[in-house]
């Protein structure tokens, strides 16, 4: 197999980083676990295969080591197929075949320079490198593609080692940048944010080895190192019947905390930002260790607001974070209220938020619902079509609450469904997709209120019967050699349990199956009028620049006073024209969002995550004046350069 045979796959690889965590109980890549550097993980092998195919890197001896470390065990295919429908072993096979085409003894090892020698003195020989092959595996997930800079990768294990690395970088006067699991970079580096979010040369500090994790059930807190992912923390917390307010499974919690402050559907009750952070240990740019609880540090809550506050590089490296955990109730259950229009969904969700109903509460789009629960993108597309055309199901108010509150929601809602129906939808998704032209669906569509007919009325029985399926049935949509695995997997109760899925968040990266996406949206006052205005501000640019845009989810904070909205732009990041259009749409959406009072676009929350939210969101900004809006493009050009440089 040639590298070019797998180029289509490797180019579109989204760097979701899920192959680095054991989210399906398969175990993880043993080579990755042993060697650490991204090159040894399936994600990195795919990037290497791409970089070699596109002549962005020359092979070195390290390539042999990377290639030989894989025994094609296939764990990564199971993990990756579940999320993105890709098979990393194909890229690995292509790499193995490629290596055999190289003339014997043609590969050279990379000479050490002073900096890498010093780095190795700090972390040990195995954990620092200047080898272009290892470095290339970090392209597009922290290093900008086609960057000409000189880089080093270092994997420290202790705070003291990071202190020494920062001091070393300062001594050599080169920049450094921490990396958690690289998933923020995976998204941002395809856009005009690539330059400001990265370093043009210097030391990449890969924090993956720093996995200290301690749950204290007595104080209901956890203290973690910067390599701990959301999934790992959630798992440890659940062992004590506790829950952490964490985002998608693969993100490192410390990275997420400093980057975006960690907002989730659980934020309705658990809050956001410092609502959950108790203390942090971090290292400043001089290499000094500080703590949030130190009395003499500069006010950690001070923060800039507005357009000029954008800063995508963290000012400190968090090396330890103590977070609040939350008790899990015995009677937590899910209830979903389907809607045809967004204003109706917002009305109910806001009412629930104001009354503090819903430990987890969100308005979810049809797009998210169908993409998350469908085993393949093709099924998701059919499901999406059916939901829109026949069921008129466009939004879902998605609630996890106790039994009592579930009753209240069910009383307030005209129709609703729960765990059992969601399980049917997950296991029956391929069956549903095959019913695209069925008379049952056509009959449902003719009902005056199809949602009521399906989820509350006489058709429900027929619909459930039509969907009835089993893990064995569902597994048929997977490639033959993976079917046994998927049958067993879908037989596990958690895979169809909405409470578990909301806690462990293993599904969001399914959004990246077909194309790349770019998160848009941000924080705003929780009133419906503002929310709808913001959605319009995000939708219009998508239409203007021919980008596939869709509402993702909305969650409320502070009993509905504030809202966090995610709206996504989906595009093919391997198409230069699509990238240009998406960049223009981003700029235009900023312009429109900043014109609305009290709105802070998501990017403008970045690197302010440990600060108390009040200082970022309050006072509500008045919205840019006409005059400022007139100069907006000029301002953006000044900040980001012209579009040719994006």
């Amino acid at each position: 197999m040639n590298l070019s045979d797998v180029l289509e796959t490797t180019k579109k690889e989204p760097h979701c980083g899920l192959c680095k965590i054991d989210f399906l109980g398969t175990g993880v890549c043993s080579a990755g676990k042993k060697h650490g550097f991204v090159a040894y993980w399936p994600e990195g092998r795919m990037e290497l295969a791409r970089a070699l195919a596109e002549n962005e890197v020359e092979p070195s001896v390290a390539l042999l080591d990377v290639v030989n470390s894989c025994n094609l065990c296939g764990v990564c295919d199971r993990q990756c197929y579940f999320i993105t429908q890709r098979r990393p072993t194909k890229a690995q096979q292509a790499l193995k075949d490629y290596v055999t085409t190289l003339p014997p003894n043609s590969l050279k090892s990379t000479p050490e320079d002073e900096i890498v020698k010093d780095l190795r003195t700090i972390v040990g020989n195995n954990w620092a490198t200047n080898d272009p092959i290892i470095i290339a595996s970090y392209i597009r997930s922290i290093i900008k593609q086609k960057s000409l800079g000189k880089y080093y990768i270092v994997m420290p294990q202790t705070t003291e080692e990071i202190v020494a690395i920062v001091k070393l970088a300062n001594k050599y006067k080169i920049p450094y940048l921490p990396r958690g699991n690289g998933t923020f970079f995976g998204v941002a580096l395809q856009t005009l944010l690539a330059e400001p979010a990265t370093i043009e040369q210097g030391i990449i500090i890969d924090l993956w080895r720093m996995k200290d994790l301690h749950v204290d059930p007595e104080t209901i807190t956890a203290t973690i190192g910067p390599g701990v992912t959301s999934f790992e923390l959630q798992k440890a917390a659940h062992a004590h019947k506790l829950r952490a307010n964490v985002a998608e499974a693969e993100s490192c919690v410390c990275a997420n905390a400093q980057n975006l402050g960690i907002v989730t559907t659980w934020s309705n009750t658990y809050g956001w930002g410092t609502d959950n952070f108790i203390d942090a240990e971090y290292i400043d740019s001089t290499g000094t260790i500080q703590h949030l609880s130190d009395k003499d540090i500069p006010n950690p809550y001070a923060s800039e607001q507005g357009l000029l506050s954008l800063s995508l590089i963290p000012s400190v490296i968090i090396t330890k974070l103590t977070l609040k955990l939350h008790e899990i109730l015995d009677d937590e259950q899910a209830v979903f209220v389907p809607f045809t229009t967004l204003p109706e969904a917002l009305d109910l969700a806001h009412e629930l938020a104001k009354r503090n109903i819903g430990i987890s509460l969100a308005v979810l789009s049809r797009k998210y619902l169908t993409e998350f629960i469908s085993p393949t993108h093709e099924i998701a597309e059919d499901f999406n079509f059916i939901a829109e055309k026949y069921l008129k199901l466009n939004y879902v108010v998605d609630v996890i609450c106790d039994a009592q509150n579930k009753k209240i929601v069910e009383e307030l809602a005209e129709v609703s469904f729960d765990h059992a129906m969601l399980k049917s939808l997950i296991l029956g998704s391929s069956k549903l997709a095959s019913m695209k032209e069925s008379s049952l669906l056509k009959t449902i569509a003719e009902e005056e209120n199809p949602l009521k007919a399906v989820f509350g009325g006489p058709m429900r029985k027929h619909f459930e019967k039509g969907l009835a399926s089993s893990p064995q049935e569902l597994a048929k949509v997977f490639p033959e050699d993976l079917r046994d695995f998927f049958e067993k997997l879908y037989s596990k109760p958690e895979l169809t349990n909405p409470v578990w899925l909301h806690s462990f968040r293993i599904l969001p990266c399914r959004m990246e199956r077909k194309h790349m996406w770019m998160y848009r949206g941000g924080y705003m006052p929780g009133d419906k009028k503002t929310i709808l205005k913001v959605i319009d501000a995000l939708e219009k640019p998508a239409q203007t620049y021919n980008i596939d845009g869709a509402f993702g989810f909305l969650s409320y904070l502070e009993r509905g006073k504030l809202a966090h909205l995610e709206y996504d732009y989906y595009y093919d990041h391997t198409d230069p024209d699509a990238r240009k259009r998406v960049n223009k749409a981003i700029v235009e959406s900023w312009r429109r969002q900043f014109a609305i009072k009290g709105v802070t676009p998501l990017e403008f929350i970045c690197s302010k995550g440990l600060h108390r939210k009040e200082h970022i969101l309050y006072p509500f900004l008045p919205g840019l004046s006409e005059e400022e809006l007139e100069h907006f493009e000029e301002l953006i050009e000044t900040l980001f350069g012209g579009e040719d440089t994006w």
Binding site: I174, P175, L308, S311, I313, T638, L639, F640, G641
Partner: protein
Amino acid sequence: MVKYLSKEWAELAKKKVLTELDKARDLKNMNTSLLNIIQNVPPDNKTMYFYIKFIEGNLEELITSSDESIKQKNAEITATGDYTTFVQISSGQMSSAMALLKNRLKMTNKMKALTITKPIDTFNGCIKGIQTEY
């Protein structure tokens, strides 16, 4: 070859700007004063100051100094950063706006600073031509 931020460098920079740049076309008749606070200047990691003042696009003052009393000039904008960052800006490798986004510069009065970025970049482009030892 003159040493970056030395008196000779400042003299040459001033001469070059006055002779080569047009106050309307290149410097957009700007009115501003800017104090760059340059930290960790080698060899002994001291702080240096680089102050410029324009009136109607005329370069009125260009001073480099290690004396912090220059702060008393109450510049309209101050930009604080590491020596390496200023070298990158002065040698045209990075715009000051990008240094700001990358968290390498701390600035006061950012809005004003951004409105004069273009003429300031032209100014930097001009002094970049000085044969400088960094």
